[in-house]
Amino acid sequence: MADPAFRDAVVVGAFQTPYSKHPVKEVLDLLVDAVVGMLRRHEIRLGDLDGLAATSFQLAPDNVVTLAERIGASPAWAWQGAHGGASGVMGVLEAARAITDGRATVVVAVAGDSFDVSRHMQLMDEFNTGMRDYLAPYGFGGTNGLFALVEREHRELYGTKRTQLAKLATTQRANARLNPNALLRSPMSEEDYLTARLIADPVRLYDCVLPCTGADAVLLMSRERADALGLPGITILSGRSQNNYLPLEPMSMRTGAEKFAADLFAEAQVTHADLDFAQLYDDYPIMEIIQLEDLGFAKKGEGGAFVEATDISRAGTLPVNTGGGQLSCGQSGAGGGLIGMGGAVLQLLGQAGDRQLDAPRLGLVSGFGMVGYGKGLSSAATILRRDAR
């Protein structure tokens, strides 16, 4: 049986604001656009919205409650994420728990930021005290430098190849070419990826996400309400999270997913082979490989070989990041933690347009982020199932 914590909730929709390379408005108003856009798409009245989950790096001095004020909403339940790229998945899981607990009936989970490259670098310089005090005084390059350390060690220990990373980046780019909201849609070859300019060796330009502006939203409601409205739903079979796994390790060689993967699949009662797609948190291709290992698709050190041996295209056995992922869509700050969830929802509801897979039933979404002194502190993942119609 699926995890009863999520039993009475279903996910019924996803929405994205237009993505842009430069800030177009204040972040609070960007999040408002996403929430209101989500409600309008499904013709939900504002008075019916009684739960709100929000994550944004730039939201201070605002917060999820002042976001509700700006919208004019009156939610009984409100949650704000502090888990960076894991917050998107966590917010949806928390919303489903709140609905199952009877604390809310209709919830929007939203995440986004008004970023561009310079605002992102500024954030990296003062992200948290660990990073500010012990890394920022160096020109460590923000996460680019930190994940370069990870990629080099992974290659040294396990023989992971740049061509394996290239397969992720180029496959996602091909997917993004069918996604009108992706910011990077020009063709990218393996050669383009391998020879792009160095950012922090061995990390090159197309290993790095483009910090951008945008917001993503997901709509959940009680199963009863969704049935009454005739909305097809998605069931959360299982969902797990972990923070500060391996407390004193400052490199993201192993993520919290390693700790919860067995439970995640056991609770969902599905195997890896049952999955119709995976939306992996892709701040860097090396982190997709490490998550594939930690989530149990491959043994530690064999994620690169797994990618090489697996058809991860939309026509393949395990399509990965079917909308292009952050690597090709852009990383809208905390929105990068919800973009995979949104993509999964559209796929399972059959609303993914030109990039729609053939009637997918089961999907996995992972999140990862909140880099502190060196590593990404937070991990989350969920397994979703399209309900029978």
Partner: protein
């Protein structure tokens, strides 16, 4: 009458840098080191944590040359960043004085302190021989 407040581990760490020594924290109860310094030992939760000068020789776990620092830097680009490990503790710091020597995984390195206004720990080659390819 109250006892004078003990300097916090963060203050001890900064004091030590000011004296030209890179520090890490060690717990007097369990004997184990950690970095960055925390008020309670993350191994045993003891508050008998003090900052001591790091004398250990580190092994280069990984390194990168950063061409795009997140803030303007005074020195030349790229910036060498090293993850060094000793006693099971990994510290990430800039590499300094590697000159023409190639930084490589497995090389020996030790912590020194910059004499610029940043006053931060940096990884220097432990000796001529160990840092050679």
């Amino acid at each position: 009458m109250t006892a004078p407040a003990r300097r916090s581990v963060t203050e001890q760490y900064r004091d030590m840098l000011g004296q030209g020594h890179a520090g890490w924290a060690r717990c007097a109860d369990c004997g184990r080191a950690h970095f960055y310094p925390r008020p309670y030992c993350p191994h045993c939760l003891s508050d008998a944590v003090t900052v001591e000068p790091v004398t250990a020789t580190f092994r280069v776990r990984s390194f990168t040359h950063v061409y795009r620092p997140q803030r303007p830097v005074d020195g030349p680009l790229p910036v060498l960043i090293i993850a060094g490990e000793a006693e099971g503790i990994t510290i990430i710091a800039e590499g300094s004085d590697w000159g023409g020597r190639e930084c490589r995984i497995g090389a020996s390195t030790r912590l020194a302190v910059t004499d610029d206004e940043r006053n931060v720990p940096v990884f220097a080659p432990a000796d001529e021989g160990s840092a050679r390819p």
